[in-house]
């Protein structure tokens, strides 16, 4: 079976044979870095065109269809446009913070790539606290938004940043609690072990209703955490023009834009890993033939398929629902999601102890 691990191993062997260990590690890091950056760019391009097409079809429009076949290269053209645009820094802005903010957003998004298993045995860094790492690092995202809002010297930006702060801090809780539900079931924080525990079935199926509730809570919470509609109060176009990135233009704006999409990808990848079995193929109990066919589909396709399904779900939300108000947003978290996910976690814990799952 064709697998990424073979490629990675052969590269590693070739490097070890030709260079001393220090150089090997440096070169491998450079390769990984380049791979992540190119994945980044690719994801940006793919997700932007996907969002535009999804929104267009839901809005009974044709969507972009001029650049390339069926408009597939539209986002390349957009990128070109943004690249040649002037990156304006407003006069009263705090220049250092203003210019730093989009890069922090990018760095956070890149860091989050580390523990994600893209395919079988294809992972940058399988650290033993992978899930914890993800939820910890993703909180840094709010810093960049706050920074951008503050440094812009614009009241709209500031309000957007403040909203985003309140929002991310509160939704982090229920996202964390629903992640914990999986961790409790698995007994490990390591991403590879979580995936391995789903060899005989994905958690969303194995865990009965509580896991389904955890999954739904997770999706809602991460939608809020990535500032996507209906929780896009940080940008809230009709209220705050563009919220925290009102003053950004050109490539700096593009970085925020890209970071948003990459964040969406990452949270969906986490969701797919935790609840939908990561790269694990879909198996049904004792149907050996069916399971065998499923195994033939490469693991990377399984992973990306699940992730993109979740991304589509989040886009579906965005293009269907109106935006919440700030107090309703916090009500939803503190009155509904948090109590539900807490009780849910208790039930999951009881289930895990009593072994009430497949």
């Amino acid at each position: 079976m064709w697998s990424f691990s073979n490629i990675a191993n052969s590269i590693h062997e070739w490097l070890s044979n030709n260079f001393n260990p220090t150089w090997t590690i440096i070169i491998e890091m450079v390769i990984a870095g380049v791979a992540v950056i190119s994945l980044f760019a690719l994801l940006g391009l793919v997700l932007v065109i996907m969002e535009r097409k999804v929104s267009a079809w839901m809005q009974i429009r044709l969507g972009p269809n001029r650049v390339g076949p069926k408009g597939m290269f539209q986002s390349l053209a957009d990128t070109l446009k943004l690249l040649v645009k002037e990156g304006l820094t407003p006069g009263g802005a705090d220049k250092f913070l203003f210019n730093l903010a989009p890069f922090i957003a990018m760095i956070v998004a890149m860091l989050l790539m580390a523990p994600i298993a893209f395919a079988k045995d294809f992972q940058l860094w399988d650290l033993n606290i992978g899930v914890l790492f993800v939820s910890a690092v993703s909180s840094i995202m709010v810093i960049s938004i706050l920074m951008a809002g503050w440094a812009s010297n614009n009241k709209y930006s500031l309000m957007g940043a403040m909203r985003s702060g309140a929002q991310i801090v509160s939704y982090e809780l229920s996202a964390g609690l629903s992640i914990l539900a999986v961790v409790v079931m698995t007994g490990s924080l390591q991403v590879s072990e979580i995936i391995e525990s789903q060899r005989n079935g994905w958690w969303i199926f194995k865990g009965h209703l509580p896991m389904l509730i955890a999954f739904v809570t997770f999706i809602i919470a991460v939608t809020a955490e990535t500032n996507r509609a209906p929780f896009d109060l940080a940008e809230a176009e009709s209220e705050l023009t563009a919220g925290f990135h009102t003053e950004y233009s050109g490539m700096k704006f593009a970085l925020f834009f890209l970071a948003e999409y990459v964040n969406v990808f990452i949270v969906c990848a986490i969701g797919a890993t935790l609840f939908l079995g990561g790269w694990m193929p879909f198996h049904i109990g004792k149907w050996e033939g069916f399971n065998h066919v499923m195994d033939y589909i490469p693991s990377s396709i399984w992973f990306f398929g699940k992730t993109f399904f979740l991304i589509f779900l989040i886009m579906w939300f965005r293009w269907t629902f109106p935006r919440l108000r700030i107090d309703q947003l916090l009500n939803l978290e503190w009155k509904y999601l948090l109590p539900i996910s807490m009780i849910n976690l208790l039930i999951v814990t009881a289930m895990a102890i009593l072994g009430w799952h497949f």
Binding site: Q59, R61, S238, W319, T320, R323
Partner: protein, 391 residues
Amino acid sequence: MEGFGEVLKMYRKTEIINDSKAPPAEGFGEADMIINVGPQHPATHGVLHLVITLNGETIKNVEPHLGYIHRSIEKMCESLSYRQFIYVTSRMDYLSAHINNHACALCVEQGLQVEIPPRAQVIRVLMDELTRIASHELWLGAMAMDLGAFTPFFHAFRERESINDIMEETCGARLTMNYMVPGGVMHDLHPSFQQRVKDFMQLYKSKVHEYDEMLTGNIIFQNRMKNVGVLSAEDAISYGCTGPTARGSGVSCDVRKLYPYEIYNTLEFDEVLETGGDSFSRYMVRVREMQQSIRIIEQLIDNIPEGDFQTKTKAVLKLPKGEFYSRVETARGELGVYIVSEGATTPYRIKFRSPGFSNLSVLNHIAKGSKLGDLVAMMGTLDLVIPDIDR
């Protein structure tokens, strides 16, 4: 939100941008700030400029600054003849341009004492109601977009476009039709008019439940609209609100019912009244009003009398000395046209009592104490069309 206030206080010390010469609103506190919504802002749908005093997210005062699209149509009309000035009024409330023209034509006819042929009356009413539906469709989409739901905007445009196609075929233009002339209408109906209106009604009926699914029944939408911007009936009257804004508060003010013009007294339709007075009531009034308009069209579309579509009037119109006032129900409320004539070929003074101007004045009253996000819902349900306000 204690910390929020603190941060804002710090921020406020750095710079206050306030282009208003207004004295700070009463009780302008340390932690308050002033933001300018507009003249370029996605939610104002035009060049409305609101100076908002905010405490955190809570609105303390809203002060509209008008005039960004003031063309002084009233002054312009003083130099235009009675045939010419009608087209200018299309540019006031451009979403119900047809009804604006209707008001002017009525006023001139009142002065000339001409009888309108029955066919022309029916055509006018049909066009009015189509315009009303088109206007409400656009409002529905734009308001949903203000609240963050982008998709209904395009769905609402689908229906609106089919009305625009009908208009284009019969009147020759999609938005500013200038179809009314003193004495009737400019052209006869297009031969395929009836069929296309029937097609449109079929389309409308097959799609109308979608808005209930996507907006009316949606829990987020309801939460955003209910108990937001509550306007009591007394305030609605005192502030001079008309149209769906006032009817949402239970004030009966439909000109078509109270002071019927053309053939409205022979038609069967209900004046839509809601008693809530909040944004959701105003929303429901407009949604239900569209159905009443469909009902009116259904009654008329198969019963268009034969005959002239225009009474022959003189080439140069002269109104007798005196004052004339006519009012119609536009999609936004009561539009009054007040002509003072000196017996010349041009009006001596024209006053347009535009519904938007009075409806806007209530904004500060209902917005006080609500959140910034609510302001958008309120502006949406007041259905402000800025050229109508500025004139």
